[in-house]
């Protein structure tokens, strides 16, 4: 077993991943914060639009001015319950908000209104499919709780070299985000993932993101912070051993980072333990650029949040009728939908997984809805368009081509108006912003020319230009016609139907 040495000041010592997971059993815990997409904030009527000018979406309540009071957003409560129900949670018959007290300038009241020991939803699960080098493994993630809280303001530290609070000349706070409703979803300890722990973590966050999107409760954009993830990780010697001391890694703000951060923490903690040391219970910060975590607050320095029930809000007691109504009106969830589509499209598990991996489910579904076939939709989205998306580094849905465009291209091929090769050029034109497929065909003159009168002139010209070849064909050397066909195709810039050109040449020279 080898551990890469590190100094106290420098990067942490790491144990190679395979060795680490051979020696230790990792246990995960994931805390995901979701910003709800409600029109107004959790406790006041302020708008929640992303990117508005700083502090333009504020009022006495979300600025925490003296005398202001919170008034609960019913839609936020409803969203919280829908999320809980979609995660197979119980919905509390009675619960309260609590104040989490700590001083920080991004907290206008110097306490956060959150939930503590009485979450609105608890005890659920989410079944996920984890893609591994051993194939797709099903995995159940147990959900501890989903609770409501308000977001904080956003602080920018200016004038320093690092953009962090230490060394900054001054800081600015934007309270537009303060009071935006958040749901925090916390898993129970996730054990049994073994060496696949990083993939399990990523698959869970991905599945959760898709679930939240299907519920329409959030735009779940990790890069804009509307979905944020903290990763807890501990190691133990064997699955039978008690849980080890965990670290809590914050600021893990992309799906890829979730996987990397777990992998990193496994290697870091393994090196510590193997070296005879122990893991410190602390929060750590993930650095996307370097792929490292660095220590934040340790448990000893951790704040005592002095939680107590929020006296400015009344308890929430959702009626069972309300809960049943919400349960009954849940939309089709991603896992159900996936099974339904796979059956409808008659795809194998492998084929369906490829569609999922390409992020092509929605676009294929939309293409079929626009009149395309599953074969055609898969062919274009998973082939040519996947290649372009990959080149551009964007999602399929972000390409400037619509499902209707793809369906139309398929139709053009089926109608014989373009061939496969031209169809690629049509898509090229659409992607280049030249308009709809039909406009591109017209604009670029791409239609397959099968009209005899138009082709006739080109054929006559080719025969006149190459009398030797023409004579050979007349003499029965039909293979010589190839040169003439090539000449016609060249003259028509490939838009002619080659088979028809050949027929016309043979007719004329027979």
């Amino acid at each position: 077993m080898t551990a890469v040495a590190g100094t106290a000041a420098g990067p942490s010592a790491l144990m190679p991943y395979d060795e680490a997971v051979a020696a230790y059993d990792p246990v995960l815990g994931l805390e995901v914060h979701v910003e709800l997409g409600t029109a107004s904030k959790m406790f006041c009527g302020c708008a929640t639009e992303f990117g508005a000018p700083p502090n333009s979406q504020t009022c006495p309540t979300c600025l925490g001015l003296p005398g202001s009071l919170p008034a609960l957003n019913r839609t936020a409560v409803e969203s919280a319950m829908r999320i809980g129900l979609a995660l197979n949670c119980q919905v509390a018959e009675w619960c309260r908000f609590a104040r989490k007290n700590y001083f920080y300038p991004d907290m206008p009241k110097n306490f956060q209104t959150s939930q503590y020991d009485e979450p609105i939803c608890f005890d659920g699960w989410l079944d996920i499919d984890v893609e591994t080098d051993e194939g797709v493994l099903p995995f159940r993630i147990e959900i501890e709780r989903a609770h409501m809280e308000e977001d904080t303001g956003k602080t920018s530290h200016l004038g320093g070299a690092t953009g962090r609070i230490h060394g900054a000349d001054y800081s600015l706070v934007d309270y537009n985000r303060a009071g935006i409703p958040l749901i925090e979803i916390v898993t129970k300890p996730v054990a049994g993932a073994g060496r696949h722990a990083p993939e399990v973590a990523k698959a869970y966050v991905t599945a959760l993101r898709d679930l939240l999107r299907s519920l329409g409760v959030s735009d779940v954009k990790m890069e804009q912070g509307s979905l944020r993830c903290d990763v807890n990780l501990s190691l133990r010697l064997s699955p039978e051993a008690p849980l080890g001391t965990r670290s809590e890694t914050k600021n893990v703000n992309s799906l890829r980072s979730v996987e990397r951060a777990v992998r990193y923490e496994i290697s870091r903690q393994a090196a510590l333990l193997a070296g005879g040391g122990s893991v410190v219970q602390e929060t750590r910060h993930w650095h996307e650029d370097t792929g490292l975590t660095t220590p934040g607050r340790s448990k000893e320095e951790a704040e005592d949040y002095r939680y107590f029930p929020e006296p400015d809000l009344v308890p929430i007691a959702p009626s069972r009728e309300w809960v049943d109504e919400l349960r009954a009106t849940l939309p089709e969830l991603p896992a159900q939908r996936r099974r339904r589509l796979q059956a409808e499209w008659e795809l194998s598990d492998f084929e369906m997984q490829s569609v999922l991996n390409a992020g092509a489910v929605e676009v294929i579904e939309a293409t079929i809805a626009a009149g395309g076939s599953i074969a055609g939709a898969r062919k274009w989205w998973m082939g040519e368009l996947a290649r372009v998306a990959n080149e551009r580094g964007v999602e399929l849905a972000e390409l400037p081509v619509s499902a209707a465009d793809v369906a139309r291209v398929e139709a053009l091929v089926a109608e014989g108006q373009v061939n496969d090769k031209l169809a690629r050029q049509v898509l090229d034109g659409v992607l280049a912003g030249e308009g709809s497929p039909d406009e591109v065909v017209a604009g670029r003159g791409l239609a397959v020319v099968s009209d005899d009168s138009a082709l006739g002139a080109a054929v006559d010209a080719a025969i006149a230009a190459d009398p030797d070849a023409a004579q050979k064909v007349r003499d029965g050397k039909v293979a010589a016609a190839g040169a003439l066909v090539g000449a016609v195709m060249k003259a028509t810039r490939g838009s002619a139907d080659a088979a028809r050109v050949r027929e016309l040449i043979l007719e004329r020279l027979s």
Binding site: P60, L63, G64, L65, P66, G67, S68, L69, P70, A71, L72, R99, N101, F103, P105, P108, K109, N110, F111, S171, V173, D304, R306, Y307, F308, P311, D312, L313, V314
Partner: protein, 501 residues
């Protein structure tokens, strides 16, 4: 001061309302009479922290114009009022008696303020108070104490000493107070005025700078029970901006005050709120009032509320706990005082310096108590236990209201004490609220009204009436009956006895 203006300041709100409606006097004249009185006496009383002369006159002028235009106006349109400085009023300084809010002019009205303005009530200014309503003497104001108009060497009660004193000094016929543990009722008792703490949730707390959210309640202060009722019905009622506000109609308090009849009512004396620790003159006047009520046809019974003796201890855990959190927002970052921002100090340091400079000793004491009581490992023993006591007190009330329609007790154990007398003894100061605190813990309404002067010191004594939640009307029914009987006996209102300023 002309004879007619002198007369105006001694009138009740109901009397002024009639004269204003009849066109005998204009709102501007009424406002000017009171502003002149403030100019004449407030240098000695110090009931006001801020007098909004221009705003008051403009509001009075607007009422006169509306009346001239024939617009329908509420009964209190044109009647002046003193607003406790713990409620926000747009553009007018709101300090809560603290340095830390020095210079803050709120951008918004409290719901109570908004309702007063909508009713045409003329707000004269903001009244003095113990800092953040923490105290029973108004000596904890960062801007100096208010003096009791009955004896300028004595306290006017607290925290709403400014509001109560403004009434007793005839600077205003109406005032707004807030009551967390007795801050409306105890000042009313020691100044010979009427004060009502409505049912918790009966009056919106939006714009009331919170001391202890689960206990705070704004309410009316006046010189008569009917005036208090008129004010109560203006400020009461549901407010969607306050989640703890009750979505129920305001009890028919004005009708009850006019009914003024206790025949057949069961009135209970609370065993635990009397006897030892209560000044002889306070007990004497209380007992006379009980006899008077019996003579008016009430059935007098005695009830025991066995957990009331634990109320004070529970209160001094719940209040500081909530206050420590409510007062966290005063950090110099967004409004009010900022100290030590020298370009070198970091944000934590500036917050710390600001709070050290901006908060007085009593506030610091309670923040520390509350922070401790909520700390990990102590929560169950302190805050949790106190909440259990609170439940027991609510059950005591529930049982007592099975046996009686209202409960009565002395409002405070003593008459007004001397300025400085209890300033260095917080526990003695806290004991002033021993009889008023149970109603705050239970969320039930209570009223204090004057029932005479203690023979030993010639200072006013208050009687407290307590009713079940949302039965505030019973306070007015009993209070008005007792008030009328006492006035008959005295040949006029008690305040006539106060030394003239």
């Amino acid at each position: 001061m002309s004879a007619s203006t002198t007369d105006l300041i001694y009138r009740t709100a109901a009397g002024l309302s009639d004269s204003l409606a009849a066109g005998d006097v204009s709102a501007v004249e009424v406002a000017e009479a009171h502003l002149d009185r403030i100019d004449a006496v407030d240098g000695r009383v110090h009931a006001f922290l801020h007098v909004d002369r221009e705003g008051a006159l403009a509001a009075a002028k607007a009422v006169d114009a509306r009346r001239a235009a024939g617009e329908p106006l509420g009964p209190l349109a044109g009647v002046p009022l003193a607003l406790k400085d713990v409620l926000t009023m747009q553009g007018v300084p709101t300090t809560c008696g603290s340095r830390i809010l020095e210079g803050w002019r709120p951008a918004y009205d409290a719901t109570v303020t908004r309702r007063l303005k909508d009713a045409g009530v003329v707000i004269l200014g903001k009244t003095n108070m113990d800092e953040f309503a923490m105290g029973s003497s108004t000596e904890h104001s960062a801007y100096g104490p208010t003096r009791n108009p009955w004896d300028l060497d004595r306290i006017p009660g607290g925290s709403g000493g400014g509001s109560a004193a403004s009434l007793a000094a005839y600077e205003a016929p109406l005032a707004i107070g807030t009551d967390t543990g007795g801050s409306i009722r105890q000042p009313a008792a020691v100044t010979g005025t009427v004060g009502v703490k409505p049912t918790y949730g009966g009056v919106s707390r939006y714009g009331l700078v919170a001391l202890a959210s689960s206990l705070d309640q704004a309410g009316p202060c006046a010189r008569t029970v009917l005036d208090a009722a008129l004010l109560h019905s203006v400020i009461g009622g549901h407010d969607p901006l306050d989640s703890t506000s009750l979505d129920l109609p305001v009890p028919a308090v004005v009708d009850a005050a006019r009914q003024a009849d206790v025949k057949g009512l069961r009135i209970a004396v609370v065993t635990e709120l009397g006897g030892e620790g209560y000044q002889p003159g306070v007990r004497q006047r209380f007992e006379e009032s009980v006899a008077l009520l019996e003579g008016l046809g009430a059935e007098i019974v005695e009830v025991s509320c066995p957990h009331f003796p634990y109320a004070l201890a529970a209160y001094y855990l719940i209040l500081p706990s909530e206050a420590s959190s409510n007062l966290a927002k005063f950090d110099g970052m967004r409004f009010g005082l900022r100290v030590g921002d020298d370009g070198e100090a970091g944000v934590d340091e500036v917050m710390s310096r600001t709070r050290a400079a901006g908060f007085g000793d009593e506030v610091v004491r309670r923040i520390m108590l509350g922070t401790y009581a909520l700390s990990a490992g102590y929560y169950d023993a302190f805050y949790g236990q106190a909440q259990k006591v609170r439940t027991l007190i609510q059950r005591d009330f529930a049982a007592a209201f099975e046996a009686a329609d209202v409960l009565i007790s002395p409002t405070a154990p003593t008459t007004a004490f001397r300025l400085g007398e209890k300033l260095d003894d917080p526990l003695a100061m806290y004991l002033n609220d021993v009889a008023t605190i149970p109603a705050n813990l239970a969320g039930t309404p209570g009223m204090s009204l004057p029932v005479g002067l203690a023979p030993e010191d010639g200072l006013p004594v208050g009687l407290q009436i307590m009713a079940p939640a949302m039965a505030d009307d019973r306070l007015y029914r009993v209070g008005a009956a007792l008030e009328a009987a006492l006035a008959d006996r005295w040949g006029g209102p008690l305040l006539k006895e106060a030394a003239s300023l």
